[in-house]
Symmetry: C2
Amino acid sequence: MNMRISTIASLLLLLATGSSLSADPLREQAQGLFEPIPSAVPALPGDPATPEKLALGRMLYFESRLSENSDISCAACHNIGMGGVGGPATSKGHSGELAGRNVLTVLNAVFNKSQFWDGRAADLKEQVVLGVMANPAAMLKTRGGPIIGDSAANNLTKQHIVERLKSIPSYVEAFKKAFPAESDPIVYDNIGKAIAVFEATLITPGAPFDLWLNGDDNALSQDQKAGLKIFIDKGCSNCHNGVNIGGGAFARFGVAQSPGPELLPSDDWGRFAVTKNVADKYVFKVPSLRNVELTAPYFHAGQTMDPRKAVAIMGASQLGQKLSDGEIDKIVAFLKSLTGRQPEVMLPILPPNAFPAP
Amino acid sequence: MNMRISTIASLLLLLATGSSLSADPLREQAQGLFEPIPSAVPALPGDPATPEKLALGRMLYFESRLSENSDISCAACHNIGMGGVGGPATSKGHSGELAGRNVLTVLNAVFNKSQFWDGRAADLKEQVVLGVMANPAAMLKTRGGPIIGDSAANNLTKQHIVERLKSIPSYVEAFKKAFPAESDPIVYDNIGKAIAVFEATLITPGAPFDLWLNGDDNALSQDQKAGLKIFIDKGCSNCHNGVNIGGGAFARFGVAQSPGPELLPSDDWGRFAVTKNVADKYVFKVPSLRNVELTAPYFHAGQTMDPRKAVAIMGASQLGQKLSDGEIDKIVAFLKSLTGRQPEVMLPILPPNAFPAP
């Protein structure tokens, strides 16, 4: 009797599991809209990864001497241990210098179709080359903002930084090893290539949503599944889709209803600065929602810490719909399922400035 | 014949090695003045290390939410990957906010007899409690300077920070595990205790000088040995001695001859701010010379990047002697032998601010 019951139980379990894998309509719909983060690091076209280039890129990512005043590194604003952003303050605008756009996460950035809020960089290398090397004040003031890559100040800075790296024996060695075919490897472009190779490793596979997408029914709670369904049915997934659940398209913020000047400052015209096309006024890149639990504050002006408020604003401004508290709670529960395994990175030991040999 | 020669050779080698271990007068003299960095992490009285407390301390060390504006962590100024200091900029004073004293390294700080340039903190925990938690501007303006631990602003900040940590579920968990005997473990003092336990692990054993001190003749070059002899004979080791080759005593900067206002700003009275004793005017802690290769710039005002210049200044201001270029080169060669194995630290994954549960 007992045996029979347990046998029946196992059979039922088997059936349940089997059927869920093949015929869960929500999963089938989701699989058509989203892709899991791959577990393997993606290769970068024209920038093959080698252990030496990766080691150099990790050093440069944490290297504050890449800024004119040697006081700000990639890691300063893109803290790998904090969701790949700088934490609340960088967008609080608590000091004039920290005004500008909200920091976008470096995690999974390799999967975005363009970089920066206005998509002015095509890939990670270009993002580094355009974004990293202005002098810190300029970089902070225009962080993610107007193109600074071509300004005279920035070119001067680029030259300083290359000279600075050339003056540090360990970097001369490291660049030789990372770019063995080049006679003069310490050039600006290679700084970008090495950092891009490191940044491509900063991916977060294994999110509950991805486990569920791959067939694990128990990876999501009922509320999270309900939230996903609302996310799709209401139209959030029209823009937030693909591997990064965003990062692939541009959209006008406030297409249905303006979110107001605090969230949409009138002096930041977004993608217009890149295309000069009037139709791109107040158009921004649809940000990835991967690890959104870790990347508050939200929106390009970074004025919202509360994910519930952020979801409500999106419903109104982009979809022209007032979402109910229950709908918002379920969507936020779903968003929490987008947090993947955070990359564990060993802090690099950086070389000292030139010191006389013994 | 060949055999005989090789036998004699080995005998001579044996003798040489044997004798160097027992009777190298320079080593015997050095062993009386200096101690190697131990390979084991020292225990902190009243603050026993546990894996849980160590994990919490590592998180808090990198936690910018310990500052009022959530924009500066211990690691921001004490970069473990750069000799435990912030690199050139922190002392360049390139912005008003960054004025103040030169950052002292966190590496081997556990072996100093007191903390800060004026020795106002007795140990690492007190250094954290006095130094960390003022609002960033105040912290930077007075970094290492006047005591800020008792100011109203700072007490307010302390309260904010405790409340902030209590609002982050993962920290509530982490403090419970780190201080299991306490009913309300998120208190200011425990922040200091956890960070101190982590900082005590940041030691750099294995420096060539330590290997030589322990009997390895080949760990130092001839120039480095000559430099050590000059370092002792000229009197540098009167203050720079012990495990940290400094960090154990106080001395008036310019006791023999003033180094001038750039290196000794007249508005920074040093230890006088702590003791109110006129004899302590312009008295500062003798800094450790461990890893000095990595900790430029030098002196409390941080106005010297060049180790040769720094040695020349010390000779004149503290010993009243003009060191020759040859003497300076040899001393600098010796100083390079004080660079030990740098600690390898995994960047902690920091918890997000509270996010609704699924």
